[in-house]
């Protein structure tokens, strides 16, 4: 088991490397990084001199691989002869430097660390809601298979996966925020602000979770060992809540983690809809300049994408470990 975790951790190295290259390339891929930097500083029509200055200031005149190494490590340091600004990105990603945001006039990392907790709170709340709702709905529908309970539950779940979740958020704003005036709909200034975005995000995820749980549960209920449990004369609730549920939960848990990337996507959208001061809003609105943001800030885009990719990689790792832990065949397998 520990050997497995270590090997799994080693596997992270090439993935991290790939992630860093992808994130680094975002800016060079735009084709004119110096213009992008000036745009973020509010310069709309830069002169040739301005562009040239930025080019040298940020080291964009150097070959790409040098730029990458420097972006990662901070080396080689600024070249005094070339009039490079050592302050722009001096310490490198590996030492936690994501660059400087001109939009906010702070280092990107500071802005990220400010937004990250908010995103985590929203995701955690949504995750809880989806877990509680999804598991409950899935198990009950499986147990009451082909009854109105099942049909209603699964109808709702199907509806849940068919609704665009930003539209669901929009309607929630309209109904609970504007018409009824029960709940705040913008920003984050207290727990009441959490309710609508978390519910919107949570219910959207609950639909697919309920569908997975139901099919996994039905699968398990068909197994021979469930019949064995009944033949032993066990109480029905022991059969269901001990034998069936534990077995059914293994694939659900795996899928749960496997679907975390979707949750990240959903969070980005929902944050933007509710103007939630998290990573998603930061990335889409302030970084990409969409959804009412003013202009792009590529350092924020890089930082935001990087953060989400890191979270995805971590989730994936946890998923593998959880799966190994839940399944005795692996836990006690040869070489485990």
């Amino acid at each position: 088991m520990y050997g497995f975790i270590i090997r799994r951790l080693l596997l992270l190295i090439p993935i991290m490397l790939a992630v860093s290259i992808v994130v680094f390339m975002l800016l060079p891929l735009t084709g004119d990084p110096e213009r992008q930097v000036l745009l973020a500083q509010g310069v709309q029509d830069p002169s040739v001199e301005q562009l040239e200055a930025v080019r040298h200031q940020y080291g964009y005149h150097r070959p790409l691989y040098i730029q990458y190494i420097r972006w990662m490590t901070g080396y080689p340091p600024a070249d005094p002869n070339e009039n490079e600004d050592a302050g722009v990105m001096s310490r490198g990603l590996l030492r936690g430097d994501l660059g400087f945001s001109h939009k906010f006039q702070t280092p990107v990392l500071d802005k990220m660390l400010e937004a990250l907790p908010n995103t985590l709170i929203l995701m955690a709340a949504a995750f809880m809601i989806s877990l509680a709702l999804g598991l409950l709905l899935g198990v009950i529908s499986a147990l009451r298979r082909k009854t109105w309970v099942d049909y209603t539950g699964m109808g709702a779940a199907l509806f849940g996966v068919s609704i665009p979740n930003y539209w669901q958020g929009l309607m929630a704003i309209l109904i609970f925020g504007i018409w009824l005036g029960w709940l705040p709909v913008e920003g984050y200034h207290g727990l009441s602000y959490l309710i609508l975005p978390a519910l919107t995000l949570g219910t959207a995820q609950a639909g697919s979770l309920a569908r997975m749980t139901r099919s996994s549960m039905l699968d398990v209920l068909r197994q021979d060992y469930i019949r064995t449990a009944r033949a032993k004369g066990l109480r029905e609730r022991t059969v269901i809540y001990t034998h069936a549920l534990k077995n059914a939960f293994i694939p659900v848990a795996t899928l749960l983690f496997l679907r975390l990337p979707y949750l990240f996507g959903g969070t980005v959208v929902i944050e933007t809809v509710f103007n939630w001061p998290g990573m998603g809003t930061l990335l889409v609105k302030h970084g990409m300049g969409a959804a009412g943001g003013m202009g792009k800030d590529w350092f924020i885009v890089q930082g935001g994408v990087l953060m989400f990719l890191l979270m995805a990689v971590t989730a994936n790792l946890l998923c593998d470990i959880a799966y190994a832990y839940l399944n005795p065949k692996i836990r006690y397998g040869e070489g485990g």
Partner: protein, 289 residues
């Protein structure tokens, strides 16, 4: 137990999956919706009473009336006409996405699964890494770099979308490769190429169809979300997500114009999902009881 009983009912001409599918109410509803959407997309020019893009600023922000069934938007464009034309975008996104991702993922998956060994490890490393990535965020970054637009959205979604197909087909190829009839085929002297084409592929068609009917609506949903964020298909194109983006400006004053595009998306997505669910159940004999 039931399988045994069923086995003794004697043989029937039609495949049981088809018979089951035909009786499923979801299949009927789903098929009806999908056919409706397809014909609306084809005949959009005849169905829509007005141009979807022509502006009539003097008729802006009207509620539903006999003249404008769903009212008009801020530029005085008929929302109903825009919704009708929007089916083209929805279908184009869904179909193009499926075609692009499947044509990358299916061969790669078959190759990995049938070949095995190093080819398999290499492809599957890529697949696993891709699947672990948040697709929407990658897609948004792509559009931010290369600019919005229908085709860029599809490419952006395909960057991660192919991996699902590759994994499915790899699993299929792997499972089918272990089937006795594959060895039987080798025993009569079939070549590998023929085995993939005539044995592996035909036997993976059912899960592939199910996958198509499930990823197609998902692509429509995600693409509309991108448009809504302003990083997808851009206004004034009558794309439903883009329409919703514009409608939020004065949500409180004219909420109906936010309702219609949303309902349109739901109906289309539900239609495909109904179809997908019915197909999945029909193809999975364990669910057919």
């Amino acid at each position: 137990m039931l399988g045994k009983i069923r086995g003794h009912l004697g043989s029937t001409r039609r495949s049981p999956a088809f018979r089951y599918f035909k009786r499923d109410i979801r299949a009927k509803v789903g098929l009806a919706i999908v056919l409706l959407v397809i014909s609306t997309a084809i005949f959009a020019d005849f169905i829509a009473p007005y141009s979807p893009t022509e502006q009539h600023l003097d008729e802006a922000e009207q509620g539903p009336s006999w003249k404008y069934l769903m009212g008009t938007d801020w530029a005085g464009r008929d929302i109903f006409s825009r919704i009708v034309h929007g089916t083209r975008y929805a279908l184009a996104i869904g179909i193009l996405f499926v075609v692009v991702t499947a044509s990358i993922g299916v061969p790669l998956g078959l190759l990995a699964g049938y070949r095995g060994g190093k080819t398999d490890s290499l492809i599957m490393r890529m697949v696993d890494a891709t699947l672990a990535m948040p697709g929407l965020i990658i897609a948004l970054a792509f559009v931010a770099v290369f600019g919005p637009g229908l085709y860029n959205v599809i490419i952006a979604l395909a960057i991660t979308g192919w991996a699902g197909y590759a994994r499915l087909m790899r699993g299929q190829a792997l499972a089918i490769k272990g089937e006795v009839y594959i060895e039987a085929a080798r025993a009569i002297g079939e070549k590998d190429r023929t085995i993939v084409a005539r044995y592996v592929l035909p036997n993976s068609i059912s899960p592939l169809i199910v996958m198509v009917t499930m990823t197609l609506p998902a692509a429509i949903l995600i693409a509309s979300a991108m448009s809504y964020l302003g990083l997808g298909v851009m206004p004034p194109a009558p794309e439903w997500g883009a329409m919703l983006l514009q409608s939020t400006r004065n949500l409180a004053d004219n909420p109906l114009k936010s309702v219609f595009p949303g309902v349109a998306i739901i109906v289309v997505v539900l239609g495909f999902n109904f179809l997908g669910d019915a197909l999945r159940d029909a193809f999975d004999p364990r669910l057919r009881e």
